[in-house]
């Protein structure tokens, strides 16, 4: 049995290709923009992340997450994991911020 990464799909047996196109929604555009800014080699202070780290983070999500999450859901999962790994954000900060955002949503 050959070990292949969850992302290594070339040649696998798959069904019809869904050609329906969807515009990206705002939060997806913003995730993409964050990636561009974080990985820019000309960023003052240097880049904070590489696209290779983004990919590795996505490949590390596990098969279930990889298969069920949307494209930008995988991106934000990976970017956040990388930011935690690098100590740029902490678990505590994320937890507090997420709770705050949820509270804002319910009071909107």
């Amino acid at each position: 049995m050959i070990e292949r990464g969850i992302h290594d799909v070339g040649g696998l047996d798959e069904g019809p290709i869904d050609r329906m196109e969807h515009d990206r929604v705002f939060w997806e555009q913003r995730v993409d923009a964050l990636m561009m800014l974080l990985t820019n080699p000309k960023r003052p202070g240097g880049r904070l992340m590489t696209v290779d780290e983004l990919r590795r983070g996505i490949e590390s999500l596990g098969r279930e997450a990889y298969d069920s999450l949307g494209y930008y859901e995988r991106w934000i999962s990976s970017i956040t994991a990388n930011m935690l790994e690098k100590g740029i954000v902490t678990v505590d900060e994320l937890g507090a911020k997420l709770a705050d955002i949820e509270a804002r949503e319910h009071h909107a």
Binding site: G5, G11, E53, R55
Partner: protein
């Protein structure tokens, strides 16, 4: 390590390690031809972990479709970019 010449035959190593790899499984252990010498780039296997300082020569390798998959179209090809440490001379 000396480079591979344009047109030379190379085989992709049939290794299956974990890690961030950019060699698709469908090409491992397969033989193709150097179609282009792409230049030197940082090894993505290390960049993926925030490490650099390992520049590698990148090659474009052309495979016959029929060497990779079951197809009646013998002249169809697949070109893949592969780093030198994944290739061995045939």
């Amino acid at each position: 390590m000396t480079g591979f010449a344009l047109g030379s035959r190379v085989r992709v190593r049939a290794f299956y390690p974990p890690g961030h790899l950019r060699v698709p499984s469908y090409a491992r252990g397969k033989t193709g031809t150097i179609e282009r010498v792409c230049g030197t780039f940082e090894n993505p296997e290390r960049l993926a972990y925030g490490k650099s300082g390992d520049p590698r020569m990148l090659y474009r390798v052309r495979f016959a479709q029929s060497d990779l998959f079951d197809t009646p179209h013998a002249s169809d090809t697949i070109d893949i970019e592969i780093y030198d440490h994944w290739l061995e001379a045939v």
